[in-house]
């Protein structure tokens, strides 16, 4: 009797315990890569940020507390780079949101060539960034660029516009190319969000006499706003962290006027060999993005959206 009772009692728990271990085995490979490629470098990086570490003078490496951060705080270059980062992110995110919204709303209906438009608009998302940035760089070139050529021939301008050589114009070029590369993602998100909007709501409103703009403004847009805000935050983070765009398109110039913080951090660490100082700038970027990240994260959980 006791034998059987024992068996009855012990069997299910052991079975459950064995099953309980399986999910850990399943996530183990992911965990290994996360720990090696993200976790460990993160810990090392945080330490490096508190060190004087120059690759040309490795023997001088030592912990120097908050010195790097104090130095960054008083560094004019850092403030310029921060401003560049924020202007770039703001410009790219706002305009790519608007353009993505427009494209998404226009493509939400069934009509001729809808699939063709959608496919063509997704092209920037697929083309390797280095290829498209080089192509843009040439199109914006003031010696042989397509854009200046056309404007000259049409008589709109009488001498070439120095798109990439003038500080303000270089920033605008950066924003235009950034919008170009990011708005397709916004469009996809808008389309996904629109597909979840119950048609009945808009229908009811339009029967009540609301025009299309009113329906969009008061019904559709408020409904898709939360999901698209999540995507917008993610875009802001990605744009802030984007290295290739300023590096390939403008090289950070003219006179560092298009050098965002991540590019400056790279320069310090890999070109001026100040590993410690460069890392501390990267840590500052990370903390700034972590604030946006937590926001993204909260909204993401609330919406149940992974975009």
């Amino acid at each position: 009797m006791t034998d059987i009772a024992d068996r009855v009692q012990t069997r299910p728990p052991t079975a459950r315990r064995r099953r309980d271990l399986l999910p850990y085995w399943l996530i183990a490979p992911s965990l290994v890569f996360l720990a090696a490629i993200i976790g460990y470098p993160l810990v090392v990086g945080l330490q490096e940020g508190f060190k004087y570490h120059n690759r040309l003078q490795p023997w001088l490496t030592r912990f120097n507390g908050l010195e790097n951060y104090v130095k960054a705080f008083g560094d004019h270059e850092v403030w310029v780079a921060l401003k560049v980062s924020f202007v770039m992110v703001g410009g790219i995110v706002v305009f790519s949101y608007l353009l993505g919204l427009l494209a998404g709303v226009l493509l939400d209906r069934k009509f001729a060539f809808r699939g063709v438009y959608r496919a063509l608009i997704l092209v920037p998302w697929v083309v390797p960034p280095v290829v498209s940035y080089i192509s843009w760089q040439w199109m914006l070139n003031d010696q042989s660029g397509f854009i200046d050529h056309v404007l000259l021939q049409l008589g709109i301008i009488d001498k070439p516009i120095l798109w990439l050589a003038r500080p303000t114009l270089a920033m605008w070029s950066l924003i235009i190319v950034g919008v170009w590369s990011r708005f397709p993602f916004m469009m996809i998100t808008v389309l996904a969000a629109l597909s979840n909007v119950p048609e009945e709501l808009a229908d009811a409103a339009s029967i009540d006499g609301a025009n299309r703009w009113q329906v969009f403004r008061h019904i559709t847009f408020p409904l898709i706003l939360p999901v698209t805000i999540v995507a917008l935050l993610l875009q802001a983070i990605w744009t802030f962290n984007d290295f290739a765009l300023p590096f390939v398109l403008t090289g950070g110039g003219p006179a560092n006027k298009t050098t965002p913080l991540v590019l400056l951090s790279y320069r310090e660490a890999f070109q001026r060999f100040n590993i410690g100082y460069g890392t501390s700038l990267a840590v500052i970027s990370m903390v700034l993005m972590l604030i946006l990240g937590v926001l993204y994260f909260r909204l993401q959980r609330k919406q149940g959206v992974y975009a």
Binding site: P29, A103, Y117, P128, V131, P184, T189, A192, M286
Partner: protein
């Protein structure tokens, strides 16, 4: 945005139509408005689409133009089309080698991210284990880290293990960044597959892994395709880590090779653009073949948990 209000004519609701009778397809087209708004929509979309494809169009056009035509002609269609630039790129540079490198890294990343990602996604979908949300959340947070932050310590780490300047360095890095997407995406797809289906397989004597491989994954194939395309694009297009990790010319990926070309060819745009077209071609073909599955997959996955 504000344009829309001006452009869309006020729609007079048709009194005869009952809303219930007009289901999915009709309802969308009804709000479409008259012919004017349709024309305006097309004009907008044509302008947006042209903006989207202009750099690629220009690159393709220039790649086929002889050198003197590139500098003088603005025409999109080459007057004397030539394959000379492609010949130079393929025969006189290391382009074919870089192509092979990119292909190996991308295929490696893609297959591993499907395997590792479906294991992780399966665990997330079927078990409520301790640490589950921590795992899922850290995957999401990975996307917000600046690559620069990780690149500096990773560079030091990879140097210590003699992996710097190898394709392995790129493979493990790209895989880790692709995992966030593949785990979550596949979890979303697995959630949509009823447990009864794999339970039937389990009763028939299959173990969990077999059930996952032979029953669940085939049913989640649009998700697998989406993950594959995403991982492939990520590794094929990545520039920053490759630029930091790879030093020797023979280990270049295509992105690095392209960047090197601007230094090497400076103003020989024909050669640069021919290389660009060849670099873009595989992802473009891949993408257009799978476009339908992909947009459906992205839209579905984006709105799932």
């Amino acid at each position: 945005m504000t344009n829309l209000s001006v452009l869309e004519p006020v729609e007079v609701p048709e009194p005869t139509a009952t809303p219930r009778a007009r289901r999915s397809r009709d309802r969308r087209s009804r709000r479409h408005g008259g012919p004017v708004s349709r024309v305006v929509s097309h004009v907008f979309l044509i302008v947006i689409a042209l903006f989207a494809i202009s750099p690629l169009l220009w690159a393709i056009s220039s790649a086929f133009k002889p050198d003197q035509e590139i500098m003088t002609s603005l025409s999109l269609i080459p007057r004397h089309p030539t394959l000379e630039h492609f010949r130079v790129v393929i025969q006189e540079t290391k382009f074919p080698l870089w192509f092979r490198n990119s292909l190996m890294v991308s295929l490696g990343t893609t297959s591993l991210s499907i395997i590792v990602g479906s294991l992780g996604g399966y665990a997330m979908s079927r078990w409520n284990f301790r640490g589950r949300s921590l795992f899922g959340n850290s995957l999401l947070l990975v996307q917000t880290f600046p690559a620069v932050m990780l690149a500096i310590p990773l560079y030091l780490l990879l140097t210590r293990y003699h992996l710097i300047d190898t394709l392995w360095a790129l493979l493990v890095t790209y895989l880790t960044f692709a995992l966030a997407f593949s785990v979550w995406m596949l979890k979303g797809y697995f959630d949509g597959i009823p447990r009864e289906i794999e339970e039937a397989a389990l009763i028939d004597g299959a173990d969990r892994l077999r059930a996952l491989w032979y029953v669940i994954i085939p049913m989640a194939w649009p998700g697998v395709v989406t993950v594959a395309v995403f991982s492939f694009l990520l590794s094929w297009n990545e520039f920053f880590f490759a630029y930091v990790f790879i030093a020797s010319n023979k280990n270049f990926t295509l992105s690095l090779g392209m960047y090197g070309f601007i230094q090497q060819f400076t103003t020989q745009w024909g050669n640069i653009m021919a290389a660009g077209v060849l670099t873009t071609l595989p992802v473009l073909v891949f993408f257009f073949l799978l476009q339908r599955v992909l947009t459906r997959g992205l839209v579905a996955g984006a709105t799932k948990g």
